[in-house]
């Protein structure tokens, strides 16, 4: 039996198809979030099923997560991304005790029990600083796309101090730095460092292993910055953007 997890997030929609036998991922996909949440998620799910030569009747259960979780009509139940990321990460890294997830508008730190359930968690409040959206805006201000940051080898770049982690004021600060002749790599590294240190104040006492997930974990050098700021090794799953959808699919499969 096939099970599906759909993570309809603030910036992108992710879906995972899982074979209930052996809990093996058989397909996954990511598309940009847009205005019609419901249609975007439906199309993504339908396209994955079609690609695998499957139809809706082959699917034994669907769990939705993410900010638009209530608008996924195929879902039997909606589960928060906190629980789903925990399940997804536990599936991939059974020894994970801390999950740092940085998504489009969220940054969260989850502390896990040995069985992968959530012990407690913290999330950013009314502010998108320190999230993917923040990094995206800064990158754009510097004439880069967030996906183009791969060339950044900030291990040998000295990060500039970025004092503000407010998206709007950071732009002003960056304009000032550019006017002063600072390089874009140094500025970007500075922003990454600011995000990483923001996470350290949120995370409290860390228990190993620490897994870094969410879309921002794909940004080059971000895990290094985080690792340095936290003073521990940080593991990034092979597809960090998908752990929420994976967890949702696992919950769907486990409910059977």
């Amino acid at each position: 039996m096939i099970f599906a997890g759909v993570d309809s997030g603030s910036r992108s929609v992710k879906a995972v198809l899982l074979d209930g036998l052996g809990m093996r991922v058989i397909d996954s996909g990511v598309v940009d979030q847009g205005v019609g949440h419901q249609a975007i998620a439906s199309q993504l799910l339908a396209s994955l099923l079609e690609r695998q030569g499957l139809s809706a009747k082959d699917v034994g259960g669907v769990v939705a997560t993410g900010y638009a979780r209530e608008s996924v009509i195929e879902a039997d139940v909606a589960v928060t991304e906190i629980t789903c990321h925990a399940r997804g990460v536990h599936h991939l890294h059974g020894d994970a005790r801390t999950v740092i997830e940085i998504g489009g508008q969220d940054s969260k730190v989850l502390h896990l029990e040995p069985d992968g359930t959530v012990r407690d968690f913290v999330m950013n409040d009314r502010c998108a600083a320190g999230t993917g959206r923040f990094l995206e805006l800064v990158a754009r201000r510097l004439g880069k796309d967030i996906h183009e940051l791969d060339g950044l080898s900030a291990l040998d770049v000295k990060p500039l101090p970025i004092s503000s982690t407010c998206v709007v004021f950071a732009e002003t600060e960056i304009i000032g730095l550019l006017a002063g002749g600072a390089g874009t790599d140094e500025i970007l590294a500075g922003v990454q460092k600011a995000i990483a240190s923001r996470l350290t104040t949120m995370s409290g006492r860390l228990r190993k292993a620490v897994v870094f997930t969410g879309g921002v974990a794909m940004v080059a050098n971000m895990s290094n910055m985080l690792s340095r700021a936290l003073g521990v090794e940080v593991v990034v799953p092979s597809q960090p953007q998908l752990t929420g959808a994976l967890g949702a699919a696992i919950i769907a499969a486990s409910a059977r």
Binding site: Y67, T83, D115, T117, V118, M123, D125, R126
Partner: protein, 399 residues
Amino acid sequence: MSSECCSSAGAGSCCSGGSSSASSCPITYFEGMIGNCLEYATAAKKSGKPIVGIMCEYTPRELIMAAGALPVCLCGGSADTIPAAEESLPTNLCPLIKSTFGYHAANSNPFLAMADLIVGETTCDGKKKMYELMGMARKMHILELPHRQDCPEALAYWRAELVRLKDALNKRFNVNISDNCIRHAIEVMNRERSAKRKLAALMESDNPPITGLQLLGLKSIISGIPSDLEQYDRAIGMFSSMQGAAKKSVRVLLTGVPTVHGAERVVNIIETSGGLVVCTENCTGLKPVLDDVDTSGDPIDALARKYFGLHCSVMTPNARRRDTMASLVKQYRPQCIVDLVWQACLTYDVESYFIRDLAKELNLPYLRIETDYSPSDSARIKVRLQAMFETVRSRNQRC
């Protein structure tokens, strides 16, 4: 039939429609609380009774009542009045202070307009300084509240402050407050506190007959109105014999800042996200009604002891909050703790550290929500609550 009234309580549809008159169901009765209070205050004012605005549970309503005046709570719970307040007050101030001041600035609270005197108290720096601004246009009396409950001189000072309030009321309203008048007011307030405790105790049940939001609605901004007291008693009688439908809601203990009239948003989010607030340990919940005022001995002494004993975060240290919460946890069996902090409420904000610590000790999941009166973060609050409730349920499955 009154006994059938509210049989669907807990579902939020209590007493709607049907042939029952508005007065037959206490929940419906208190839905008209502001209107009732306005009518009551207007009539009182017309009959020559002064109106005294109060801003805090530390202010002994008994002294005001003993002066033949009507104490009216003026705490603001509306986001709408905040822009008017921000013309004079800093943006980064607690919403309760701003909302209260906004009513003053926009002159949009009829109770404030009627007030012959406002009694403020030094429970936080924000309020204290706000009173200075309010005092430019209105008659104010400030009670200086000491912050050391473990210090006998502090209690003596507080007693002296209550005597000063009594003198100020005597002078302002040309009366002579007697001990007997105070004792009578104490009896009325004790009766009200006792009723509130019994109402709160309805939530001890495994399947409470009402929701936390409905319980929060059984209140009045004016204490001691005879018909309110009757309705409290009716509610106790009616709901004590009832059980709610068995539900899978997660039992929540709510602590932290007060959710005054109009600022019930977080309670509502908790109860629409799979939770049930079974105990509210704050100034709009159990905190001010846990202790009665001693009816023997000197009434001012008794008032001073009762009110100085309130465990607001302004006290240092505030050990009693911890002890009270631990005993409420035993009594109400919550499965998690939600600690609500209004933005820029420094004392509750810092004290969260100890509450988180206590939750850990009691092995209860803990969630701190820092917010204000605007609904912009409702979805974010909801996701955190739902995640905590999922955690509670998965714990239960493991056990």
